[in-house]
């Protein structure tokens, strides 16, 4: 009962995201590797949870022996120039139910885009009016972002091939606020974006290729938009926050009753995400794997609203990661999974300088219990360059995941 309440709490709060500079581009930074088991390898398709299972790849789920409920939390530190920003957030909740090692289905909810960012003028500006010098400072802030709900299905075609698919629903909202502090008054301009869209993911896994009688597992995944992601933007009238509660009410100027109604505008197909991922996993020694994954991601959305903090958006993303994993031996005293990876990423930014990122990932998984429960710790360190206005950023990301296994759909023995 306690566990159920805590899990519900985690699920409800799974839309709080972490802050980094890419959140200021477009509709926010894409949240990647939301489960702790895959952070250390920095890939999605290849096995990272168990020796033949990735929590993010439904075509591998039929290999699970138990039903798993998996949640993870995320801690991130971002160093920009001389300042550091730290955030803590819940990152995903997922339930995966295998059936007779033939098929599987799963439901998950996790953040999709993060717009969590606050930027400030570091110096005061001045304006002369009526022979008086007025000093002012601005703060731009955005928060929230859409989540993605997934309904996934995996199926084992034969001993070497399996397929999977996910139906993704993007939902939720983000908020933006621009604050001008002038004459000791805060002038606020607030807006809210509501996201809605659907996408489908297709997965394919095969073990048809062998080297030295050991199979190379190949994984393919496609993400295809069904209807694109539409955005409804509500723009509220600016006001002076007289009572400094960040909320437009009757004590503010203009009084909320005398303010203009929010301007609602709908933008269709603002985001059109296509991605292609290919990866290979080779077990070169017993339970020791070498993996490589390549991602090509593209956003061909309209981006007519263009209300990002930096006035531009990321339209192309490419990632290459190479990783090493040593898995635990099930039902033995060898209970540790060790993971390590290096990766490079390039973000193509529309009309602005491209962003390059290079980093490494480390991870440990601890198996416990008869049902293969697992506690995962993932760490990612990366450096970015080419960021708008600030150029360089250093990121530290730490993720903790807990996956609890249980037997479901097992007919109880009648006494």
């Amino acid at each position: 009962m306690w566990s159920r309440k805590i899990i519900l709490f985690f699920l409800l709060f799974s839309t709080s995201f972490s802050q980094n500079s890419i959140s200021g581009y477009g509709y926010g930074s894409l949240v990647y590797n939301t489960d702790a088991s895959s952070l250390g390898v920095y890939n999605k398709l290849m096995p990272s949870f168990k020796s033949n299972v990735s929590l993010s790849n439904p075509s591998s789920w039929h290999n699970l022996l138990f039903t798993y409920l998996s949640t993870s939390v995320n801690f991130q530190s971002s160093e920009i120039q001389s300042s550091t920003s730290r955030n803590f957030s819940l990152s995903s909740g997922k339930i995966i139910v295998p059936w007779k090692q033939q098929m599987s289905f799963g439901i998950s909810i996790e953040p999709y885009l993060s717009r969590q960012i606050v930027i400030n003028d570091s110096t005061l500006s001045s304006f002369t009016f009526d022979d008086q010098e007025l000093l002012y400072k601005r703060m731009n802030k955005s928060s929230g972002g859409p989540s993605i709900g997934q309904l996934s299905f995996g199926y084992k075609l034969n001993d070497v091939d399996s397929i999977g698919s996910s139906f993704n629903v993007v939902f939720g909202s983000s908020r933006a606020s621009r604050t001008l502090n002038l004459d000791n008054d805060n002038h606020l301009l607030q807006s809210r974006d509501y996201f809605s869209g659907t996408m489908i993911d297709l997965f394919y896994s095969t073990k048809r290729i062998e080297i030295k009688e050991k199979p190379i597992s190949l994984f393919l995944a496609f993400r295809i938009p069904i209807g694109g992601i539409d955005i409804e933007n509500d723009s509220y009238q600016a006001f002076i926050d007289v009572n400094e509660n960040d909320f437009h009410d009757v004590n503010d100027f203009p009084d909320v009753g005398q303010a203009l109604l929010p301007l609602t505008q709908k933008y269709g197909d603002e985001l059109q995400i296509n991605s292609f991922t290919i990866g290979a996993d080779y077990e070169f020694s017993l339970r020791k794997h070498i993996q490589i994954e390549f991602l090509n991601w593209k956003d061909s959305g309209n981006h007519n609203l263009n209300n990002s903090l930096f006035g531009s958006y990321i339209d192309i993303r490419k990632k290459l990661s190479v990783s090493y994993v040593k898995f635990a031996q099930p039902f033995s005293r060898d209970i540790y999974n060790f993971k390590g990876s290096v990766f490079i990423q390039n973000y193509g930014v529309k009309n602005l300088e491209n962003i390059n990122e290079a980093g490494l990932g480390l991870g440990v998984g601890i198996n416990f219990g008869i049902t293969g429960n697992q506690m995962d710790f993932g760490y990612k360190f990366s450096k970015r360059s080419g960021l708008h206005l600030i150029d360089k950023e250093t990121l530290h990301m730490f993720n903790i995941g807990l996956s609890i296994g249980d037997l479901w759909f097992v007919k109880r023995r009648e006494i």
Partner: protein
Amino acid sequence: MIRITLKSRILLTLLLFFILSCSEETILYNEIEKEGTVQSTTLPEKNNKIFQTFPNNSSNSKLFFGNEKGSDNLFSLVEMTLFSGNIPPTNLVDLLADSIKVDSAIVFFETADSLISTSNLSLYSILGNEASVFSDSTNFYTLQDFLDFESNSFLLGEIPLSSITPDTTGYDTLKFAFKDQSLNDLKKYFFDTETYPARTFMLKSANSLDKLFTIESVESTRGAKMRVWYKSYINEQTVLDTFVTFFAQKDVSIFNPPAIDDDDLSYVSLNSGSGLRSIVEFDLSVIDSISRNKLFKNSNLVLNLESSNLTENDEFYVVVSALRDSVNNWNFTSPFVSSDSDETASDFNYILDSRFIISRKIENNEVRIPIQSFLQGYKNGLFQHDELIIYSAPVNSPFDKVRLNLNAIEVLYVEP
């Protein structure tokens, strides 16, 4: 006993970690894009008019006597209650019954002023045939609409204004005492409300009073009172020896205000005694052209004092209000001077929009009135008209008159 499992303990630890660690800090940038954040503009004057409206002095807390700043105080009218304030209420005319013997009466007025003068203050009874002989709209300009008060009155008494000095309460009392013949006159010309139903006193000072002198009006809660002592008889036996008190219920001062001359038309001229007001129209087209996210900040209507009859210690408040209707006739208009055949009541009786009324005091020969809420309201469609009416606040002396020069409005607006 509650048994917490290992799984629950792990989940609780994670939850605690989440609650304790959640934080958000700001990323500092050298500067955010600055263009258009803070801007200023000027709103030029488009039209203006000086006009006269119906002066209304009945709400003043004082009744005025003497001559002041070019005004000539003619008289004040005070209407008393028909019934006394005692239980049971006594009608004025009841005091004339055969079984009643009125011993004496005193009419009281209170003043907060000090005065040493050779002038006298006279108390008259108005001999009208109507129950109500004046109203809030009675003033110098409308006297012809009412009874000729000075010809239809009877002198009841007179007191000298030789030594008026407020006591420790801050007030001195002016008493008109009635006994013998003067009491008979009071009974005949004031108590007999069947013959003279007006029950209204007229107070008038002698012409030699060249200083301003005031007494408290009904609005100050220290208005006039009349106390009557009487005995009641049954079968020639005294059964009651008491007094009753009647109170003022309505009053007004009638005075000839400062004259309106041609020079007044060249300025924003204000005087409540004569009903002199101004309306200014501004070119607000720039407001329509700026984006909806602009927010009006410091925006002042600045008026410089050109001339006035204010003395060193006088305070003068200027009121500015939005209008419910637009102005059609920009010429001088007055309800008392019929110069334009097309003139209608709406040309001098402008209705204020209560959503924007603001007043400020003239200080250092200048008055600055913040009008950003009017400009924001105009932008938000709350106000449809670009005119502002400017007038003298009711708290000002009705004799005070100012002429002001209008400057263009300097407006500061911002976009977060």
